[in-house]
C-alpha cells in the first residue's frame, strides 16, 4: 500500500525524496524564474548581455580568423619574411593560397638574398582558418589574424586578399598574439645571432687563413670553401 500511494523523486545525491503534492515541482520552477526576473532589476551583473557594437568582449589571445603575412621594419614590401617557398600553398587543404615567385631576389632579415613572392593571394571566402599554413611555414612568415569584421559588398574581388592587404607589421603581430610573437622574435633573433656568429667565425677563419697564406705562400690546396 505504501508504494502505491507515494511517488518518489530520485535526487542528485541518490537520496530518494517523496513528492507530496502534484504541483510541487512546478511551484519550485516558477519561484526560480521569479528570482531571476526580480534579481535582474536589482543587481545588474546578473545580466549577461554584451551589447555588441558598443561593448565588446576582448578577443581571446589564440583566436584565429584568416592568415596574414608578417613583415619586419618600416616598409612592408622589403620587410616581408615570406620567401615564396610555396609549402603553405601545397599544404593548404582547400587550396586557397596562390603564390607567384619573383624573378629577382631581396635580402631577408639575416641579409641572405632570398626570392620573395611577386604575387601572394589568399581567397578568404575559401579559407577555413585551419592554421596549417602557419604550422608548415619554416620562415614564420604567415600568422593567423583575429580581425573578424570583414563584411564586404563585393563577393569576388572583396574576398580575394592580395599581398598588400595581407601584409601586417611585426608590431601588429605583437599586439594580437603577444606571447607567440615574442617567442617567434626570440627564435629569429637567436638564429640571426647564430648565423652572425658563424659568419664571424667564417670571417675569422678566412682572415686567419689569409694571414697564414700570406705568411707561407706555399702552393697547398686552398682551404675548403666556407662552412
Amino acid at each position: 500500500m505504501e508504494t502505491w500511494l507515494a511517488a518518489y523523486e530520485l535526487r542528485a545525491g541518490g537520496s530518494i525524496r517523496r513528492i507530496a503534492l502534484l504541483g510541487e515541482g512546478i511551484v519550485k520552477g516558477m519561484l526560480e524564474t521569479a528570482k531571476n526576473f526580480a534579481g535582474s532589476f536589482v543587481s545588474e551583473e546578473r545580466l549577461t548581455t554584451v551589447e555588441y557594437p558598443e561593448q565588446r568582449i576582448p578577443t581571446a589571445e589564440n583566436a584565429r580568423v584568416f592568415p596574414f603575412l608578417v613583415y619586419d621594419g618600416p616598409e612592408w614590401q622589403a620587410g616581408l619574411r615570406c620567401v615564396a617557398c610555396q609549402i603553405c600553398e601545397k599544404e593548404c587543404p582547400p587550396k586557397c593560397i596562390y603564390i607567384e615567385k619573383s624573378k629577382d631576389k631581396k635580402p631577408d632579415y639575416v641579409g641572405k638574398m632570398q626570392i620573395y613572392p611577386a604575387r601572394f593571394d589568399i581567397d578568404v571566402s575559401v579559407c577555413m582558418s585551419c592554421q596549417i599554413c602557419v604550422e608548415v611555414c619554416p620562415f614564420e612568415a604567415i600568422k593567423m589574424n583575429t580581425e573578424f569584421e570583414l563584411a564586404t559588398d563585393d563577393r569576388f574581388g572583396g574576398l580575394l586578399l592580395d599581398k598588400e592587404k595581407l601584409a601586417q607589421s611585426n608590431e601588429y603581430y605583437h599586439k594580437i598574439h603577444p606571447t607567440e610573437a615574442s617567442e617567434v622574435d626570440a627564435r629569429l633573433a637567436e638564429e640571426k645571432a647564430k648565423v652572425e656568429a658563424k659568419a664571424k667565425a667564417a670571417a675569422e677563419a678566412a682572415a686567419a687563413k689569409a694571414a697564414a697564406a700570406a705568411a707561407a705562400p706555399k702552393p697547398d690546396a686552398p682551404a675548403a670553401g666556407g662552412d
Binding site: T3, W4, L5, A6, A7, Y8, E9, L10, I19, A20, L21, L22, G23, I26, G29, M30, E32, T33, A34, N36, F37, S40, F41, R46, L47, T48, T49, E51
Partner: protein, 396 residues
C-alpha cells in the same frame, strides 16, 4: 459607500465620452452609433495591448533568462511591435501551390473574428460592456468553440504534413480542455444563478469589512480557478501545452504555410485569445472590475479589469519562461484523468457549498474534501506511468 462624484465621473469617463459623441447624431441613429463606438474601442484597445504584450513577453522572458530583452527599437525596445508589424506586413505572402486557396485564406479571418466576438460580453468596467447578454457566458464559449474549426481549416488547407499534424494535436487538446473549462465556470454560474457576466461581477462586488466577496477566496472558487487556469492555458495553446506549434518538432504547427500578414493574424488571434480568456478568468473568479479592497473604490473600475488582465498575461509569460512542454499523451492523460474528474468533484462540492447554511462548518467541509481529493488524486496520478516522474531506461 457613496463614491465621490469625481471618481464616479472618472470611472464612467468612457460612457460620458460616448454619450457626448453620439448626441450630435439624430435620435434614431444613436443606439447604432453607441455600438459602433464600442466596437471601435475594443478593436483599438486590445490589439494595442497585443502590441505591448509582445514586447513585455520578449523582455520578460529575457529577464527570466538573465539577459536583456529587445532594447534597440525605440526607448527600452517599445517600438519593437511597430517594427514587427511593418515586417509582417511587408513580407511576401506565399501560398503553397497545391494549397486549398479559399480555405487557406478564410482560416485566419475566421479565427480573428471568432476571438474578437468573445470580447463583446466581457464587462470591462462598471456598465462598460458592449452587449449585456442574458446568456453572456454561453456566448463566450460558443465563440471560443468556433476557433477550433478555423484551426482545422488552417491545418488542412496547407496540404502539409506538419500543419495537419499540428492542427490535429491542437484540436484534440482544445476539445479535451474545453470540457473542464466549461465545467469549472459552471460552478460560478451555480452560485450566482445567472449566465450574464455583469450579474456575476455584481455578485462579487460586495465587501465584508474591506475584503471583497470574490469567488477565488472560497475553497470551491480556488479549486475551479486552478482548473480554469490550466484549461485556459491549454485552450490558447500556451506554454506547458504549446505542442501544436512546438517549434522543435512541428516547425510551426498549423500555421507553417502562412507568411506575411496572415501569419501576423494568427498571432493576433492567439494573443487576443489569451486576453479574452484571461479577462473571463478575472471576471469569473477575481471580481472583474471590482476593487480588491473597499477603500480602493475611488480608483476607476476599468483600471482594475485591465490590471487583472495584465497580471494574468504576466503569469502566462512567467509559465512560458519556466515550464517544459508536455508530450501529447501526457497532456491528454492529464486532461481526462486529473483535470476533468477534479472539476466534476468540484461541481459537487459547490452544490454542497450552496445548500449548507453559511458559517465555518461549510468552509471546513468543502476545504477538506477538495484538499484531500487533490492530494490523493495527485499522488496516485504522479505514481502512475502516464504523468509520474519520468523513468529512464539506460542502456547497460
Amino acid at each position: 459607500m457613496a463614491t465621490t462624484p469625481i471618481s464616479v465621473t472618472v470611472d464612467q469617463i468612457f460612457i460620458l465620452l460616448r454619450d457626448w459623441l453620439t448626441h450630435f447624431l439624430p435620435e434614431t441613429l444613436r443606439p447604432f452609433a453607441n455600438v459602433v463606438l464600442g466596437v471601435v474601442a475594443i478593436a483599438c484597445v486590445f490589439p494595442g495591448l497585443f502590441a505591448l504584450t509582445t514586447v513585455f513577453e520578449r523582455k520578460g522572458l529575457g529577464r527570466m533568462q538573465n539577459r536583456l530583452g529587445p532594447n534597440r527599437v525605440g526607448p527600452f525596445g517599445f517600438f519593437q511591435p511597430i517594427a514587427d508589424g511593418i515586417k509582417s506586413l511587408t513580407k511576401e505572402d506565399i501560398v503553397p501551390l497545391n494549397a486549398d486557396a479559399v480555405v487557406h485564406f478564410l482560416a485566419p479571418l475566421l479565427l480573428v473574428v471568432a476571438v474578437f466576438m468573445g470580447f463583446a460580453v466581457l464587462p470591462v468596467g462598471r456598465n462598460m460592456v458592449l452587449v449585456d447578454m442574458d446568456a453572456g457566458l454561453l456566448f463566450f464559449f460558443a465563440m471560443g468553440a468556433s476557433t477550433e474549426l478555423s484551426i482545422f481549416m488552417a491545418g488542412w488547407s496547407s496540404r502539409n504534413k506538419y500543419s495537419i499534424l499540428g492542427a490535429m494535436r491542437a484540436i484534440a487538446q482544445m476539445i479535451s480542455y474545453e470540457v473542464p473549462l466549461l465545467l469549472s465556470s459552471v460552478t460560478v454560474v451555480m452560485i450566482t444563478g445567472s449566465l450574464s457576466l455583469t450579474r456575476i461581477v455584481e455578485a462579487q462586488n460586495q465587501y465584508t469589512g474591506i475584503f471583497p466577496h470574490w469567488y477565488v477566496f472560497t475553497p470551491w472558487g480556488l479549486a475551479s480557478f486552478l482548473m480554469f487556469a490550466i484549461a485556459a492555458t491549454a485552450e490558447t495553446n500556451r506554454t506547458p501545452f504549446d505542442l501544436p506549434e512546438g517549434e522543435s518538432e512541428l516547425v510551426a504547427g498549423y500555421f507553417t504555410e502562412y507568411s506575411g500578414f496572415k501569419f501576423a493574424l494568427f498571432f493576433l488571434g492567439e494573443y487576443l485569445g489569451m486576453f479574452s480568456i484571461a479577462g473571463l478568468g478575472a471576471t469569473l473568479f477575481w471580481g472583474g472590475w471590482s476593487a480588491p479592497l473597499s477603500i480602493l473604490n475611488f480608483v476607476p473600475s476599468w483600471i482594475w479589469f485591465f490590471s487583472k488582465d495584465m497580471a494574468a498575461i504576466f503569469v502566462f509569460i512567467w509559465m512560458r519562461g519556466t515550464l517544459p512542454r508536455l508530450r501529447q499523451d501526457q497532456l491528454m492523460n492529464f486532461a481526462w484523468k486529473f483535470v476533468l474528474p477534479f472539476t466534476l468533484l468540484n461541481l459537487m462540492v459547490t452544490a454542497l457549498w450552496r445548500f449548507m447554511e453559511g458559517g465555518w462548518l461549510r468552509w471546513v467541509v468543502c476545504s477538506v474534501i477538495l484538499a484531500g481529493a487533490y492530494v490523493l488524486m495527485g499522488r496516485t496520478a504522479m505514481h502512475r506511468k502516464h504523468f509520474g516522474p519520468r523513468s529512464y531506461r539506460y542502456a547497460e
